[in-house]
Symmetry: C2
Subunit: 217 residues, 2 copies
């Protein structure tokens, strides 16, 4: 197939409140496989910022590792982000979840003044410099807004997030459920997913549209 | 819509080696929502048998609770299985994962002589007695084989699993990726999912076929 691409997918743990949003992560893998492309999952081999009990919403005393937890979504087929080699992949993609804003950067605490994990920043810069496409769902476009110059992205309709990415120098396009935003010049595709009060069907549809748009570059 | 049904979905944690298989769980929720039906997720409020590091495959010293971990897949919208009321739901469905065989019963350790968690057994018997359909993916048909009489199910192609469910009194139909088995008399639909060396696309397709067949009863 002419559209068969090799995707690197970066996950931020396993669970929407402290790690990777699971529906967005699984739908990303599904959309890639459905397109006839292949994927390798990556995560940084570092501790999560914290662990949240997803039933009660309370912070627990546990300590968990992002790579180890993301391996649950990847069914063990995962590599440490330090092994990521830009030469080996055609497209980079991020799923969302609070773990992106807590583990891959500290956006959840510092907003527009956030710092990005060095391996994440390196991967994004390397892909962008090589002219390769990058996709980002939900909250993860904040990473692209922070690392790259004047990218056009979406954060859905969230006023605070929109204000923050504009302060980082990004151009913001609001979206509703099922919509994606394509930055043709920077080869970046983003969609709001659970930044909105979306359904799992919206998330699946957006993941498929994002993957198709990334492949079409 | 005439096909709109209320599903109860039972998960066994979060992660294929010690809990619910995440792809099967998410694809179950997706298939239900895509059909226009609704779901409520349930899990028993008990400790997992053990915790496995999904990156290394090693058993860890951690202790985790099935309801709390399954809440990661359900995004917090989950109820303890003790709250399950057969009157409120049209269809019951199980995703797979080793957690089914370690947490919802002890099939992983006792094979055909396994014991089923009392709340799981109660839910299955109540649905079946009420003439309501039950779906089960991957390893979870072992629960139906053990609790109900002479059900027709699939375990894919695994010789040991096939031998075990036959010893429990079930009728076995082998399947390949993408196939489902319908027991018309008992209103049971099963599919092999990751009991085979399947892809995430196979799992999605099977989940959608199972949900459609359950709704069609």
């Amino acid at each position: 197939m002419g559209t068969k691409k090799k995707f690197a997918v970066i996950l931020a743990g396993c669970g929407n409140r402290d790690g990777a949003e699971i529906h967005e992560s699984v739908m990303t893998l599904y959309a890639i496989a459905k397109s006839g492309s292949s994927y390798q999952v990556f995560a940084p081999d570092i501790k999560q910022h914290h662990v949240i009990n997803h039933y009660t919403g309370e912070i627990t005393r546990e300590s968990r590792n992002i790579l180890v937890e993301a391996a649950r979504i990847a069914r063990g087929k995962i590599s440490p982000l330090s092994d990521f080699d830009v030469q080996e992949y055609d497209i980079l993609m991020f799923a969302g979840g609070f773990g992106v804003a807590k583990n891959l950067c500290n956006y959840a605490f510092e907003g527009s003044g956030c710092k990005i994990n060095p391996d994440i920043e390196k991967a994004v810069r390397a892909m962008h410099s090589a002219g390769k496409p990058i996709g980002a769902l939900c909250i993860s476009p904040v990473i692209l807004a922070k690392v790259l110059d004047q990218v056009t992205i979406t954060m859905g309709q969230d006023p605070e997030a929109i204000s923050n990415v504009k302060a980082m120098g990004a151009v913001h396009q609001p979206t509703h459920a099922g919509e994606i935003v394509i930055d043709q010049k920077n080869k970046i595709v983003t969609s709001p997913c659970y930044m909105l009060d979306s359904t799992i069907v919206d998330v699946a549809n957006e993941a498929m549209k994002v993957v198709d748009a990334l492949i079409a570059f």
